[in-house]
C-alpha cells in the first residue's frame, strides 16, 4: 500500500497510522458475543414458517396442531402484528407475518416460540396454511406488463410498477444534435446478494413495559422506529442494541420479520425469545443488489467531450419496497459525479416481482449504472479512436464544482487516482496479445446520504464524550459492522485528547445508551459520526486545556497535548483538575450535512452528499478464448480517501471492496428458476475463495476534504465500483468480445466468442431495452448559483 498525501505539513499523532482495530482482541480469542452467541436465561427459540408459493392469497391458517406439540409455547400469525412497516416512508408495505397474501417463496406467515429450535421447526411444519396461487411475476419484462390476475401490491402501479422517475437537466436534444458521434448500448446487471458470513439473529425481552431487542442490524435507529410503529409503543420504552456484527454489506439495513416476531413472542410469553436464521433463510431475507436492465445513449464532440447523455434503467425490485424508491433513483444519480455531462436525461422504473425483495448492497444502486457507463465509454473511445483513459480525462469533473443535476462536488482526486493506477500498471503501454487483457475504470461514491431516510430536521449523527477519573467514554449510535467505525470514533477522539485509540471506550449501536446516529449505510459513518465525535472531542480538549492553562498560568495555546499528557500534567491529572474546576465533564457533538449540497427539485434527495470519494482500478487477466475461463493476475486500485483515519483499516476496506467487486463481476448471481431461488446455499451461490483472489496493489490518495473529519472521506463502498467494469473491459481487451452482462461467466464469454467466430457481432448481452411508458420528463431548471459558493 502506498499513500500519496496532498497535505504537506501535518503533525497528527494517531490519525492516519496503521493501527489494529480497537475491537480486534475479543474477535481473535472467540469472546466477542455476536447476536446468536447471546444466550439469556430461560430463552425460547423462534422459527418462522415461510411461504412455499411465489404469489398466492392466504385463505386460512390453522395453528392448532402446532400449539398442541409439547414444548411449543406460542404461535403467532400476521393478525397479531397487523401494522405494516418498511424502511422508507413511501414503502410501508411489509407485514411482519403476511396474512392476506404471500409475495415470494420465503415470505414469512407464522412464527413459533418453543423450548428449542427442533420443536419450533416441528411446530412450523404442523401449521396448516391454505393458499390460492396467483400468477407469479419472474422478470422485469413480465413485471412491466399488465398483470393477468392481480398486482403484487395494491399500492403504487399501474400494474406491478413500483416507482418511476424521469428527469432532464440541460438541453439533451440540443446536445445530441450538436454531437459528432452518438452511440447506444444495452446492458444487464444480474442481481446478487451480500452473503454475510453471519446469519441474521435477534433476541428480545419484554420486562415491565420495556422492550429490548439485540439484533445483528446495521441500523438500530431505523429498527427502533419500526418497532415503535408496529407495537404502537413510545420509542422511550424500546431499546435496540446492535450486537457485534458478522458482516452486513447492506443486508442488515431493513427492519425484519424475525425482529418483529421475537419482540411479539417475548411480549406474549414473558420470556426472552431468540430467532437465528438459517443460511437458506438469509437468501430469502436478501435486500441485495437489484437486477437492472439499462440503456444508455451518449453524444460526444469530435474531441471526445460528452455533449449529452440519456440513461434509462429498469429494476427488478422483488416482492417489497425496501429501499427501492432510492435504489431506482441511484441508478441515475451519480453518473455526473465523475464526468462533466452538460445535458443529462434519466428515466427509471422499479417493478415488483415475486422474488426475495431487493435493497441496498455495497454501492447501492450505483454499481449497475457504473458498469454500464464505463463500458459504454470504452466503446465510444474505441469507436472514435481515443484511448479509454484519455477519453475519460477529457470529461472528468473538476474539484469544487456543481454537476448538471445540482450535486456539489468538493475535494476530488479523480485525476490523481487515474495517474496512480495507469502508471503503476503500465496500462497504456500494454502489449496486445490474444488471451491477455487489461481494463481500466473510474468511479465515485457518496460519503453519506445528504438526507435521512425519513424526513426530519434533526442531526444525522450525535456523539457524547464523557471524561472523568475513570477514563474516557465516547457514546454514539453508530454501528460497527466490521468496517471499523468504533475504531474511527476512538481515533478521532484520541487525536484530540492526546491519547491512544485504545484509551477511548466506545459505547455504540445501542439506542438506549448512545445518542442517535442513523446507521451504517451509505458510507456515512466516518464523515458524519466522525465529525460529531470531532466536535465533541475538540470541546473536551478545550475544557481540559483551559483548566491546565489556568493552573500553569499560561495561555491555552501554550498547552501541549499529546502522548498522554496535557501540558505538564498526565492526562489523568489534567482530568482531575478539570473535573474539580468545572464539575462533571461531558461534551457533545452533532453533524448535519450542509443544506446546499443538492437540488430542490422532486427526487433531488437521492445523490447529494457532503463529499464524494473517487476510485480508479486497472484489472489484469488472462482469458481462455476456447473456454472463456478467466484467471485474474493483478488489480491496481487507487482510492481518494480524503485522509485515512486509520490507514490499515482503509486498506482493508479497499481490498475488501476489490474482492467483492471481482466476485460479483465474475460469479455471483441471485438466480431464480420456476419462481424459486436457484442456489440458496454457500456451495451453490458462488463467491470467491482464496484461490480466485489475485494480488492487489493499493494506492491511497489523500485530497484532504475541507469538511471531512481531518479531511477524511469514505472507503467502504467506492472501491468496489470501478472493479466490475474493469474486469469486463479487460476481457474485451483479451478476446475482442463484449460481454454486456454481469456476472461475466465463462459460458457467456464462450458464447460471445462463438458469435465472433461465426462472423456475427462478438457480443453477449441483452439486445433490446423494452418500450417503457415512463412518466412525462420533468425538465429541471439549472442550479441557482447564487445560493452557493459553487
Amino acid at each position: 500500500m502506498t499513500t500519496v498525501s496532498l497535505d504537506e505539513n501535518t503533525d497528527l499523532r494517531v490519525i492516519g497510522k496503521s493501527l489494529p482495530k480497537v475491537d480486534s482482541v475479543g474477535k481473535l480469542i472467540g469472546l466477542t458475543a455476536y447476536a446468536d452467541d447471546i444466550e439469556l436465561p430461560n430463552t425460547l427459540y423462534c422459527k418462522l414458517l415461510r411461504s412455499h408459493h411465489p404469489h398466492a392469497r392466504i385463505l386460512s391458517i390453522d395453528s392448532s396442531a402446532a400449539l398442541a406439540i409439547e414444548g411449543v409455547v406460542a404461535v403467532i400469525t400476521g393478525e397479531d402484528l397487523p401494522i405494516k412497516y418498511g424502511i422508507m416512508p413511501t414503502s410501508q408495505d411489509e407485514h411482519a407475518l403476511e396474512y392476506e397474501k404471500v409475495r415470494f417463496v420465503g415470505d414469512p406467515v407464522a412464527a413459533v416460540a418453543a423450548v428449542d429450535e427442533e420443536t419450533a421447526l416441528a411446530a412450523c411444519r404442523a401449521i396448516l396454511v391454505e393458499y390460492e396461487p396467483l400468477e407469479a411475476i419472474e422478470s422485469i419484462e413480465h413485471g412491466l406488463l399488465p398483470p393477468s390476475d392481480e398486482p403484487i401490491h395494491d399500492y403504487a402501479g399501474p400494474g406491478n410498477i413500483h416507482r418511476m422517475g424521469a428527469l432532464e437537466f440541460g438541453e439533451v436534444d440540443e446536445g445530441f444534435a450538436n454531437s459528432s458521434f452518438i452511440r447506444e448500448d444495452v446492458f444487464f446487471y444480474e442481481g446478487n446478494t451480500h452473503l454475510p458470513m453471519e446469519q441474521h439473529s435477534a433476541t428480545a425481552t419484554f420486562v415491565g413495559d420495556q422492550l429490548t431487542l439485540w439484533s445483528s442490524t446495521q441500523n438500530p435507529h431505523y429498527v427502533h422506529r419500526a418497532l415503535a410503529r408496529v407495537f404502537e409503543m413510545p420509542m422511550g420504552h424500546i431499546r435496540v442494541i446492535a450486537a457485534p456484527h458478522g458482516g452486513g454489506f447492506g443486508g442488515k439495513s431493513d427492519p425484519f420479520s424475525h425482529e418483529m416476531a421475537v419482540c411479539k413472542l417475548a411480549m406474549i410469553t414473558g420470556r426472552p425469545v431468540k430467532c437465528t436464521l438459517t443460511r437458506e433463510e438469509v437468501f430469502y431475507v436478501h435486500r441485495g443488489r437489484h437486477p437492472v436492465l439499462m440503456w444508455v445513449r451518449t453524444g460526444v464532440a469530435k474531441d471526445g467531450k460528452i455533449l449529452a447523455m440519456h440513461f434509462k434503467t429498469a429494476l427488478d425490485g422483488g416482492a417489497y419496497g425496501s429501499y427501492g424508491p432510492a435504489s431506482m433513483l441511484y441508478t441515475g444519480a451519480l453518473q455526473t459525479t465523475t464526468y462533466n455531462i452538460p445535458a443529462y436525461r434519466f428515466e427509471g422504473v422499479r417493478v415488483f416481482t415475486n422474488k426475495a425483495p431487493c435493497g441496498p448492497k455495497r454501492g447501492h444502486g450505483t454499481p449497475q449504472p457504473r458498469f454500464a457507463l464505463e463500458l459504454h465509454l470504452d466503446k465510444i473511445a474505441e469507436a472514435i479512436g481515443l484511448n479509454p483513459v484519455e477519453l475519460r480525462r477529457r470529461n472528468y469533473v473538476k474539484p469544487y464544482t456543481r454537476t448538471i443535476n445540482h450535486l456539489r462536488i468538493t475535494s476530488c482526486g479523480i485525476e490523481e487516482v487515474t495517474d496512480r493506477v495507469v502508471e503503476a500498471s503500465g496500462f497504456l503501454d500494454r502489449k496486445k496479445r490474444l488471451g491477455h487483457g487489461m481494463g481500466f475504470a473510474v468511479s465515485a461514491y457518496m460519503c453519506g446520504a445528504g438526507l435521512p431516510i425519513y424526513w426530519n430536521r434533526l442531526p444525522h449523527s450525535e456523539c457524547i464524550i464523557q471524561v472523568n477519573r475513570g477514563g474516557v467514554t465516547l457514546y454514539c449510535g453508530a454501528t460497527d459492522i466490521g468496517q471499523g467505525s468504533d475504531t474511527v470514533l476512538a481515533t478521532v477522539a484520541a487525536e484530540q485528547l492526546g491519547l491512544w485509540p485504545t484509551d477511548v471506550r466506545i459505547v455504540s449501536g445501542d439506542t438506549g445508551l448512545a445518542p442517535v446516529d442513523l446507521g451504517s449505510y451509505s458510507s456515512r459513518v466516518t464523515f458524519m459520526a466522525g465529525n460529531a465525535a470531532l466536535q465533541a472531542a475538540k470541546e473536551m480538549r478545550e475544557i481540559i486545556v483551559k483548566a491546565v492553562a489556568e493552573k500553569m498560568e499560561c495561555s491555552p495555546s501554550e498547552v501541549m497535548v499529546g502522548d498522554g499528557k496535557i501540558g505538564e500534567l498526565s492526562f489523568e491529572e489534567a482530568v482531575v483538575l478539570a473535573e474539580e474546576r468545572f464539575g462533571m465533564l461531558s461534551t457533545r457533538g452533532s453533524y448535519s450535512p450542509p443544506a446546499n449540497i443538492g437540488g430542490k427539485f422532486k427526487a433531488a434527495g437521492v445523490g447529494p452528499s457532503p463529499a464524494y470519494s473517487y476510485s480508479a482500478a486497472v484489472v489484469d487477466l488472462d482469458a481462455d478464448p476456447y473456454s472463456g475461463e478467466i484467471r485474474l493476475n493483478k488489480v491496481w486500485i487507487a482510492h481518494d480517501i480524503g485522509r485515512s483515519i486509520n490507514a490499515l483499516a482503509v486498506k482493508g476496506q479497499v481490498e475488501g471492496g476489490v474482492y467483492m467487486g471481482l466476485s460479483e463481476a465474475m460469479m455471483e448471481g441471485q438466480l431464480y428458476r420456476h419462481g424459486l431461488h436457484k442456489q440458496p446455499s454457500m456451495l451453490d451461490y458462488k463467491a470467491f475463495t482464496f484461490m480466485e483472489m489475485p494480488e492487489v496493489e493499493t494506492f491511497l490518495v489523500e485530497t484532504i476534504d475541507l469538511e471531512g473529519p481531518y479531511g477524511a472521506k469514505e472507503a467502504g463502498q467506492g472501491p468496489l465500483l470501478p472493479v466490475i467494469p474493469a474486469v469486463v473491459s479487460a476481457v474485451h481487451d483479451a478476446l475482442g468480445v463484449w460481454v454486456d452482462e454481469v456476472p461475466i461467466t465463462s459460458d457467456k464469454i464462450m458464447r460471445a466468442m462463438d458469435a465472433k467466430v461465426k462472423g456475427r457481432e462478438g457480443r453477449y448481452g441483452p439486445k433490446i431495452f423494452p418500450n417503457i411508458s415512463y412518466p412525462t420528463i420533468v425538465k429541471v431548471p439549472p442550479f441557482d448559483a447564487s445560493s452557493s459558493a459553487f
Binding site: D36, R50, S51, H52, H53, V105, E117, E118, L121, T276, T278, R279, E280, Y626, S627, G628, M667, H674, L676, H677, K678, Q679, P680, S681, L683, D684, K686, F688, T689, F690, M691, E692, T745, S746, D747, M750
Partner: protein
C-alpha cells in the same frame, strides 16, 4: 441453525458387526464414515435414516497396505487427506491422488474418506436443496416425488455422478471389496455404478464398501482434470481421469474415464484407440477428445450452462491425456 433430524448412532467395532447391524435395520439405517456427504443431506431432509452406523471406530477399515502384486489396498475409512499425504500412493497413482486432493476443501478432506467419496451421492440442483425448498418446487423422484425435474420425460433420475476419485480409480482398473450378509465380494469400481441417478450404485443397500484395491500401476501413468467454477469447495462440473502407457514417444495404451456428465462415470477408453501406436499431436488429440466426449449428457442441473460443460468435457479430455503423458 440447520440441524440434524433425530437418529440413533451405533458404533460397531468390526466389519462383521457393522454388516450384521446394517442388515438388521435395512433401509432404516445408513452407514457413515466421514459424514461429509450424509450429514448435510440429512440436515436437508434428503436422507432420513433412523439409525446411523459409524464406521470410523473399525480399525480394519483404516490403513494403506502394499499388496503382493505391487498394488495397494486402501481401507474405506482412510481419509482423503491421508491419501494425499501418502508419497507411495502419489508415486504410483498420481491421477487418483490428484483427484483426492481436489475434493472439496482441506478441512472436509480431513474427515471425508475414500470409501465415502466412491459412494458419494449423485447431485442435482433440483435435489440438493432443503426439504422446504423441494416442497415449494414439488418433490422429485430421487426423494419424495415421482418425476425427474430436470428431464421430466426421463424414466430415470438424471442426478450427476460427482465422485472425483471414482473415475481415477476406474482408469487404474481398481476394484472394491463389498461385505454383506452373505460374505464378501470384489467388484471392479466401474461396475459399482449404473445409469440411474437415484439407484446410482449396484452395491446392495446392506453391503458395506470396506476397501479399495488398486492394482500395480505397472507402466500406467495417470492424471485427473477437474473443471469447476472455483478452485475449491465445488463439486466437479466435468471430471476426466486419463491413464496412459507410452513406448518412447508412441502411445501404447490409453484409458479415459469421464464423470459429472451423467448419472455414472463413463469409461470412454474406446475412443482412445485412435491414439495407439501414434505420437500425441493436437489434431489427433482433438479427434479423440471429440469422440470420447460424445456420451457426455450434461443437463441444466448444475452450475453454468450445459452447453459449456459439454464443450469443457472435450477440453478436459485433451488436457488429461496430455498431462498423463507428461507425468514423470
Amino acid at each position: 441453525m440447520l440441524r440434524l433430524p433425530r437418529f440413533s448412532y451405533l458404533r460397531p467395532g468390526s466389519v462383521a458387526e457393522a454388516a450384521q447391524v446394517l442388515s438388521e435395520y435395512g433401509s432404516r439405517a445408513r452407514v457413515v464414515a466421514g459424514g461429509t456427504d450424509l450429514l448435510p443431506k440429512m440436515k436437508r431432509g434428503q436422507m432420513e435414516p433412523e439409525v446411523v452406523i459409524g464406521l470410523g471406530h473399525i480399525n480394519e477399515l483404516r490403513g494403506i497396505r502394499a499388496t503382493e502384486d505391487g498394488g495397494f489396498e486402501i481401507g474405506a475409512c482412510v481419509t482423503l487427506s491421508e491419501v494425499v499425504a501418502s508419497p507411495e500412493l502419489r508415486a504410483a497413482y498420481p491421477g487418483y491422488v490428484h483427484a483426492a486432493a481436489l475434493v472439496s476443501t482441506p478441512a472436509l478432506r480431513n474427515s471425508g474418506t475414500i470409501g465415502g467419496n466412491l459412494c458419494v451421492d449423485t447431485r442435482c440442483n433440483y435435489y440438493d436443496e432443503s426439504y422446504e425448498w423441494r416442497k415449494a418446487l414439488g418433490f422429485c423422484m430421487k426423494k419424495d416425488g415421482n418425476i425427474c425435474r430436470v428431464a421430466p420425460a426421463s424414466a430415470t433420475c438424471r442426478a450427476i455422478a460427482s465422485s472425483d476419485t471414482a473415475p481415477a480409480a476406474i482408469s487404474m482398473g481398481a476394484t472394491v471389496v463389498l461385505v454383506g450378509p452373505n460374505g464378501q465380494r470384489e467388484v471392479p469400481v466401474e461396475s459399482l455404478y449404473q445409469d440411474d441417478g437415484q439407484f446410482y450404485m449396484t452395491k446392495a443397500p446392506d453391503e458395506i464398501l470396506t476397501s479399495l484395491r488398486m492394482p500395480s500401476p505397472g507402466h500406467w501413468k495417470s492424471s485427473y482434470v477437474k473443471v469447476r467454477n472455483r478452485g475449491s469447495i465445488d463439486f466437479p462440473l466435468v471430471g476426466v481421469a486419463a491413464a496412459i502407457q507410452m513406448k518412447g514417444s508412441l502411445v501404447e495404451a490409453c484409458r479415459i474415464v469421464i464423470t459429472a456428465v451423467g448419472p455414472q462415470p463413463l469409461d470412454v477408453s474406446q475412443a482412445a484407440g485412435a491414439l495407439v501406436g501414434k505420437e500425441i499431436d493436437d489434431t489427433l488429440l482433438e479427434e479423440v477428445a471429440t469422440e470420447a466426449a460424445k456420451p457426455a449428457r450434461p443437463l441444466d442441473n448444475a452450475d453454468l450452462s450445459y452447453v459449456w460443460r459439454k464443450r469443457m468435457t472435450r477440453r478436459a479430455i485433451e488436457q488429461a491425456i496430455r498431462e498423463a503423458a507428461e507425468v514423470g
